[in-house]
């Protein structure tokens, strides 16, 4: 339970509340037992839909009941023409919208909505996009809705450019929209790829525009974190190439070690290293400091000292 404030009540209020709950509980228990019974009997009918709807309207995270509804939809598909199924699915979408009004952060509800859209004969993905816009206007940070929107935009063939404009619009409404800044970080490299061909890099002109936008944001509200994180990302996008930073050799009569420091973690190669000492070639062994196969930025080459200085 999140964000439920504890309220103090009088004994009388508490008693009234207790009675009300007792009544609610009785109905709840009767309805759920009836549903279990019907499911065990394989009764995939309209009554099952209606009973589970009653429970889910109050308790949308009851995922088993969504499973039962999907079983009913799959069953009904075999017995009904597409127009009937289309109609049933429309009704389900309407019901799901009501569930989302009650709890816009239910994993089960968003997942069932996606399932119905994939299942129905003629899904209207453009209209789904409108639904997402509506729920993002209630809460611009609802990550369930953002995720569903990304899925929907793909299904509705919305271009990354249009999505980028949507993100700009959201940020201009309110700079403090971390979700929308995040989305830009995914879209920017797609829309403005760098000439170098590195998928992570962004073309210079587009980068400068983004710097302006981020600066505007933190001039407006320096205490909001969103634009600062984005700014840090714009700045620090260079990745080190895999290179050897340092080499260090030490030896005594029994053991010679070459310590290699790389710019990125690397797993000890399976092939043994061959080290040349003038004319002589000596085969060694790769190890990290822990003698296991975890990748590391520091690897040792162990050589037998006698072999080297024989």
């Amino acid at each position: 339970m999140h964000g439920r404030i504890k309220v103090r009540t009088t004994a009388e209020q508490a008693e009234a509340k207790r009675k009300e709950r007792e009544k609610k509980l009785k109905i709840y228990k009767e309805t759920t037992s009836r549903i279990y019974e019907k499911r065990n009997n394989g009764e995939m009918d309209k009554e099952s839909l209606s009973l589970s709807e009653q429970v889910l309207a109050a308790n949308p995270d009851f995922s088993t009941l969504w499973n039962f509804r999907r079983e009913i939809f799959l069953h009904m598909k075999n017995e009904n023409p597409p127009d009937v199924m289309q109609d049933l699915c429309q009704k389900e979408l309407f019901f799901l919208k009501n569930c989302l009004q009650v709890n816009p952060k239910s994993y089960s509800v968003w997942h069932h909505r996606q399932w119905i859209m994939e299942f129905m004969p003629q899904p209207d993905w453009k209209e789904e996009l409108q639904l997402c816009n509506k729920f993002l206007s209630y809460d611009a940070r609802n990550f369930h809705c953002w995720d569903y929107r990304r899925y929907t935009a793909q299904k509705a063939h919305v271009s990354p450019d249009d999505e980028f404009n949507f993100s700009t619009e959201k940020i201009k409404e309110n700079f403090s929209n971390y979700s929308s800044w995040h989305y830009r970080s995914k879209l920017l490299p797609l829309i403005h790829p760098d000439q170098s061909g590195d998928k992570e890099r962004v073309e210079e002109g587009a980068l400068m525009k983004e710097f302006d936008l981020a600066q505007n944001a933190f001039f407006t509200d320096p205490y909001d974190q969103s634009a600062w994180f984005y700014h840090r990302w714009l700045l620090g996008r260079a990745r080190p190439q895999m290179e050897i930073l340092r080499l260090y050799a030490r030896y005594d009569e029994t053991l010679a070690t070459i310590i290699v420091h790389f710019t990125q973690p690397i797993q000890a190669p399976k092939e043994d290293p061959v080290v040349s000492f003038g004319e002589q070639e000596v085969t060694g062994e790769w190890h990290n400091s822990f003698h296991n196969n975890h990748p590391s930025t520091v690897l040792d080459i162990l050589l037998c000292g006698h072999c080297v200085f024989a």
Binding site: M1, H2, G3, R4, I5, K6, R21, E22, K24, L25, Y28, K29, T32, Y36, A58, N59, D61, F62, S63, T64, W66, N67, R70, Y107, H111, W115, R141, F143, W146, D147, R150, S176, Y178, S179, H182, Y183, S185, K186, T220, D221, P222, Y223, D224, Q225, S226, F229, Y230, R232, W233, G236, P265, N293, H294, P295, S296
Partner: protein
């Protein structure tokens, strides 16, 4: 004009001492309210609820206050033909509750009471071609499920049953511009999700892929002036992030980037001294979920 920082004020008369006895009583009493409306409508997550309660008891060294035989009997009775566990009777098996069931039996050290091979088979069959995991046969994909699968198989000693390389690659495809992780590729970073992904990567010996400095910065910025931690930027604090964020920082070795004293006073202020238990924020209703993560923090 600058907006107000989203945070709460800790009321002056908030608790400052840990009331362990009350918390143990709260958990013990919660499991006995079988005819309570709140209790009944949360049946869909009962297995996890039992795990939260039991782990809280173990943390307080009060595990004898829960009936071990009853708990084990309940867990066993929730295993299905396909090897998966459901939250309760009449519910369908799901990876979330399969992990909770395995965790409960592991706490008691009696994992051999169930059909381990079947459980391993259930979990490994949920892996998809791209390395991701679905939560059950209905196809919801989420990095939470990657963690559930890894943790389950690690506890069962059968990590070899899935394609770890692919699973790691999928998790890495969910990494974001801030170094964090989301539910699926393209999803925004979230502290709970970050915990799951770091946990999975740690189990798979793959933490070297994480940019610990960048992610550590994002995670320690979750601390607000009240001392509490939030789950995402510009959100209110919540006691459960004392676990998700702290455990994440611990995994990447940056625990010292947080002001521990302030966090401690925030967590203590979330206790209800009358009923026992922790709430998400000072003055809110308590529940077993926040009680576990308050105690764990």
């Amino acid at each position: 004009m600058g907006s107000q920082i989203k945070d709460v004020k800790i009321p002056p008369n908030s608790p400052t001492q840990l009331s362990l006895v009350k918390h143990a009583d709260f958990i013990a009493a919660y499991g006995k309210k079988k005819d309570d409306y709140e209790y009944c409508i949360t049946e869909f997550l009962r297995m996890s609820g039992v795990y939260w309660g039991l782990t809280s008891m173990f943390l307080m060294n009060k595990q004898e206050m829960m009936d071990k035989d009853d708990v084990i009997e309940f867990v066993k009775s929730c295993q299905h033909e396909n090897g998966g566990f459901s939250a309760s009777h009449n519910h369908d098996p799901h990876l979330l509750y399969t992990l909770s069931a395995i965790q409960i039996l592991s706490l008691y050290g009696c994992i051999d009471l169930i059909d381990v091979e079947k459980t391993v088979e259930y979990v490994s069959k949920l892996q998809q071609a791209d390395g991701s995991f679905v939560g059950d046969k209905w196809g919801e994909i989420d990095t939470r499920f990657s963690f559930c699968a890894f943790a389950s198989l690690k506890l069962l000693g059968r990590l070899d049953a899935v394609d770890l390389q692919k699973a790691v690659q999928y998790i890495l495809s969910c990494m974001n511009f801030d170094g964090g992780f989301g539910c699926r590729p393209g999803s925004e970073s979230h502290s709970g999700q970050i915990y799951c992904c770091l946990g999975a990567l740690a189990i798979a010996d793959s933490l070297h892929y994480v940019n610990a400095d960048m992610l550590g910065w994002w995670l320690c910025e979750r601390q607000l002036p009240s001392g509490g931690l939030n789950g995402r930027p510009e959100k209110l604090p919540d006691v459960c992030y004392s676990w998700w964020v702290l455990a994440s920082l611990r995994i990447i070795g940056k625990l010292h980037w947080i002001d521990k004293d302030k966090l401690r006073s925030y967590i203590l202020a979330c206790q209800d001294e009358e009923t026992g238990g922790f709430a998400d924020r000072p003055g809110d209703m308590v529940d077993p979920f926040h009680t576990l993560f308050g105690l764990a923090g």
